[in-house]
């Protein structure tokens, strides 16, 4: 098994220092690692498991159970489009088609050059002002196809 890079090992170590002694703190630990690196390295599983006195299977189970956690590096830009009912009622299905066409990848996938990933999200709590989305961590509501295209273009230029 390959070992972690120095940067990965450091992130995991820092998170363990902070959360190892807190009861039930596996989720906060995983968040801390992912917030630092953008993902949770697969090779970190044994280290985390032994620090928490868990089996590797248990840690792997937790990481893969939750939609939020990921084990691969994220694309440069992440666009998450709400797909839930309130946004459906306000046109998120056609907005999603627009996004897929503009980025050249399907919902749930990333572009070949890994510049963009297009993710579904099930509710951002902006249900009175849909369609809603999150672009690189910032929320947008009442998103029209024109606004979506101009936001994508801006990111492309940046």
């Amino acid at each position: 098994m390959n070992s972690m890079t120095a940067r990965e090992a450091q992130a995991v170590e820092a998170a363990l220092d902070r959360f190892q002694d807190e009861q039930g703190a596996l989720l906060p630990l995983l968040h801390a690692v992912q917030d630092t690196l953008g993902y949770i390295p697969k090779q970190a599983t044994p280290t985390i498991a032994s620090a928490f006195n868990l089996s590797r299977a248990e840690v792997h189970g937790v990481i893969t159970y939750y939609h939020h956690f990921r084990q691969t590096e994220p694309a440069q830009h992440k666009l998450a489009l709400c797909q839930a009912e309130a946004c459906q009622a306000r046109g998120c299905r056609s907005l999603t088609e627009k996004a897929e066409a503009a980025l050249g990848c399907n919902l749930g996938e990333h572009t070949k050059d890994n510049r963009w990933e297009l993710e579904p999200v099930y509710c951002l709590g902006l249900c009175a002002s849909g369609p809603a989305m999150e672009l690189d961590g910032k929320l947008y509501a009442r998103v029209t196809p024109e606004r979506l295209e101009s936001l994508i273009r801006k990111k492309e230029l940046s």
Partner: protein, 519 residues
């Protein structure tokens, strides 16, 4: 004296440019040499008007909205700082019919205060309930909650006082208060607005619950899709601790209570209380079988009060105004108020806190102004992704747990999602199964497998009209298995949207009157 200008910091305002508007206002004021005091308040809940800018003029708050950064210059030109006319002028906001016709007990401070100001909070009735609780015995606090008739606002509607009483009467060296802030239902945002807009109210409710049951530690489990709510709650906990409201010896009472904010990780099922407890313990969010009840064997095996945000947020009012004041609102066994959330295709979407008993039609038409598209309303989904779709003919049903259940509906967390006549109800039913397949924790077979099979059956109905009758029958059979064979609401209530769509809108399922009847 500088003029007070308010720009909300609620994420529904931020998502439509409130930060940019605040920045533009600051720049204009500086350029013109005008001294303003820019307050980032919470949202009033009139979400179609966000960003809703308010100016304090002559003891009134005059509002303008929805304001864009581009409109800010013209607002200054028109003299909005002295309340002058402008095309975006809304007038004195507190006199607005949308607000005036509400009964705000929980959202009493919404839009008025700076969410993170302890001074603001206390100047508007904050911590009065806590101070009242500190001189009562635990049993008396629990009795007040029982007398108020408060029921769990997460959806199940279980009497909060009975939960608290069970925890109080269970002996243990450690007990917990857990806030379910995993508001995953589409069409709901009241929990988010409490946490972002009035975080000290939730903290006060938690402390009251802690004192009442003998718990010294509380957890708030907030969904990861709510980053603003998480950061505001974290800051509020810091400030409340510094202010002596949390930690050891709360307000000199000798009582101890600490609050930990925990970020969820995107699992819908974790909104179910036992799955949430598993998640807080650092495990996969898989539902536990009940009994034992969390009130007896809860977080880390200890007695735990686990309540929704709105349930705990109602406690300060009950303690400060008395249980009768709260119970005087409502109908039947649904006492008090519910912050309804108007969402989807609706002209005036937002938060409407009303006593139980208001009808869906009053909410959607009188407050909401009908569909945003202007097209006829076709269906309303009440109570989130596991709630039934109701047709226009059922909208006069009072919003009360029992009355709605009698019509096959679910009140849930009080969200109403409006659809106009362009909606395809078979597609909505298919989506309900798809969502269940994505989010099922996998513990119960009818939910784990049934959702996938259910989606396939609905696809058959959609694409093979000749076989629709037979497949509709199969779908009912499958739903019956899911209802009776699943531990939690994910599997047992996904049939609600599916079957209500089938029952009320058979024409979308390629069914004739005859084949519908046979199915």
């Amino acid at each position: 004296m500088s003029i007070k200008v308010y720009v909300p910091r609620d994420s529904a305002a931020l998502a439509v440019g409130a930060d940019e508007v605040a920045e533009a206002i600051g720049q204009q004021a500086t350029a013109r040499g005008i001294a303003i005091d820019l307050v980032r308040n919470s949202s009033r809940g009139l979400l179609w008007l966000e960003p809703l800018v308010e100016v304090a003029v002559g003891g009134k708050r005059l509002a303008y909205g929805p304001v864009t950064p581009e409109a800010v210059e013209s607002l200054f030109e028109a003299g909005f700082l002295t309340g002058k006319a402008h095309p975006l002028a809304v007038g004195p906001i507190e006199a607005h019919a949308y607000l005036k016709n509400q009964e705000r007990l929980t959202f009493v401070r919404a839009g008025i205060t700076d969410p993170l100001s302890l001074e603001d909070y206390q100047a508007h009735g904050g911590f009065v309930g806590l101070r009242a609780a500190l001189v009562l015995s635990p049993a008396d606090i629990v009795q007040q909650i029982l007398d108020s008739g408060l029921r769990g606002r997460g959806g199940a509607g279980f009497p909060a006082g009975i939960k608290w009483k069970t925890v109080l009467q269970t002996n243990a060296d450690q007990k917990y208060v857990v806030v379910n802030a995993d508001e995953g239902d589409s069409g709901t945002f009241a929990d988010r607005m409490v946490m972002e807009g009035d975080p000290f109210m939730l903290i006060e409710g938690m402390i009251i619950a802690g004192i009442a049951v003998g718990a010294t530690r509380g957890y708030v489990y907030i969904r990861s899709e709510y980053p603003d709510a998480i950061s505001i709650m974290e800051e509020a906990v810091r400030r409340a601790t510094t202010g002596g409201f949390l930690g050891k010896n709360i307000l000199g009472s000798g009582k101890t209570f600490d609050v930990v904010i925990r970020k969820a990780a995107g699992s819908y099922v974790c909104g179910e209380e036992t799955a949430l407890l598993e998640s807080l313990e650092g495990k996969r969010g898989i539902v536990r079988a009940k009994p034992p009840l969390p009130a007896i064997v809860g977080l880390f095996g200890k007695p735990t009060v686990i309540n929704n945000v709105l349930t705990l947020a109602a406690a300060p009012y009950i303690l400060s105004h008395g249980p009768k004041a709260y119970a005087d609102f409502g109908m039947g066994r649904s006492r008090g108020t519910l912050p309804f959330q108007l969402a989807g295709n609706i002209r005036h979407g937002g938060l409407v806190e009303k006593a139980f008993g208001v009808t869906a039609r009053q909410l959607i038409e009188d407050f909401g102004g009908g569909t945003e598209s202007g097209r006829p309303l076709r269906a309303v989904q009440i109570g989130g992704p596991l709630g039934a779709y109701l047709p226009d003919s059922l909208l006069d049903t009072p919003m009360d747990y029992e009355a709605l259940a009698a019509k096959g509906g679910v009140l849930g967390h009080g969200g109403l999602v409006v659809f106009d006549d362009t909606v395809d109800m078979a597609e909505q039913a298919r989506y309900a199964m798809e969502f269940c397949a994505i989010e099922s924790c996998g513990k119960c077979t009818p939910c784990r497998i049934g959702s996938t099979r259910g989606e396939e059956v609905i696809q058959h109905i959609q694409t093979k009209p000749a076989e629709a009758g037979a497949h509709a029958k199969l779908l009912r059979d499958l739903c019956n298995t899911m209802v009776n064979g699943s531990l939690c609401a994910m599997g047992s209530m996904t049939p609600y949207p599916v079957l209500s769509a089938l029952d009320h809108f058979p024409e979308d399922f390629n069914l004739t009157a005859e084949t519908h009847k046979a199915a």
